[in-house]
Amino acid sequence: MSTLHTVNKSPFADQTLQSCLTLCANGDSILLIEDGTYGALTAAPTTALLNSVIARGITVYALGDDLAARGLHSQLNNITTINYQTFVRLSCEHKTIQSWY
């Protein structure tokens, strides 16, 4: 059974997203929330690692409310924007949830 990883820290300031990307497993999903949504930007230092994780078949999501608050609309990686209802659904679809903060 798989894990949903949430990440809430900016990869420009903090190593948290990097750790998450290193340790997520095939079948897991990653959800960027709060300042973690800066990790959706192509300019993020984690972009190469994030793309390799996506290439492994792991889906990366970002909370739309948190992207919008920060004005992040362009130059985003290949990431699916979701709302809280989908966040709840993802929590049901994975056995465990790891919060990286």
Binding site: E34, Q85, S91, C92
Partner: protein, 130 residues
């Protein structure tokens, strides 16, 4: 599904409380149940009834109190974390000879055992970190 949410962030200084509240509302709207809200670490500050934010700002503690009341949620504040941070009820105020208390309606001080029990009884356990 039955959820337990662990809230570790204070209401104003970071986003954990706001994210947890939005998640809780979405889960309840979707027909899921919340077995327990467990306020731990700086999350205990959400349980104060003395916050008085400006009228044009979101009052997170009030929103929690309302959600808890509306859905009859079990909202436990870790007593050890709360005593260290000055969130107390009438009983603890008496025990520690404090002249007032500040816990909001709907929240209950109790031990970490309530977190452990909740994890055993829930399908999903989510932490909202600072």
């Amino acid at each position: 599904m039955k959820f337990t949410l662990v809230i570790l962030g204070a209401p104003y200084s970071d986003s954990a409380s706001q994210s947890a509240l939005a998640f809780a509302q979405a889960a309840l709207d979707d027909g899921h149940s919340i077995h327990r809200l467990f306020f731990y670490a700086n999350g205990v500050y959400n349980a104060s009834r003395l916050a008085a934010p400006p009228q044009d700002e979101h009052d997170l503690p009030a929103s929690w109190t309302q959600l808890i009341k509306q859905h009859q949620l079990d909202a436990v504040v870790c007593i050890a974390a709360a005593l260290r941070r000055g969130v107390i009820d009438a009983t603890e105020a008496k025990r520690y000879q404090k002249d007032s208390n500040n816990i909001a309606e709907g929240f209950e001080l109790s031990g970490l055992g309530q977190l452990i029990e909740a994890s055993a009884a829930s399908d999903r356990l989510l932490t909202f970190g600072p």
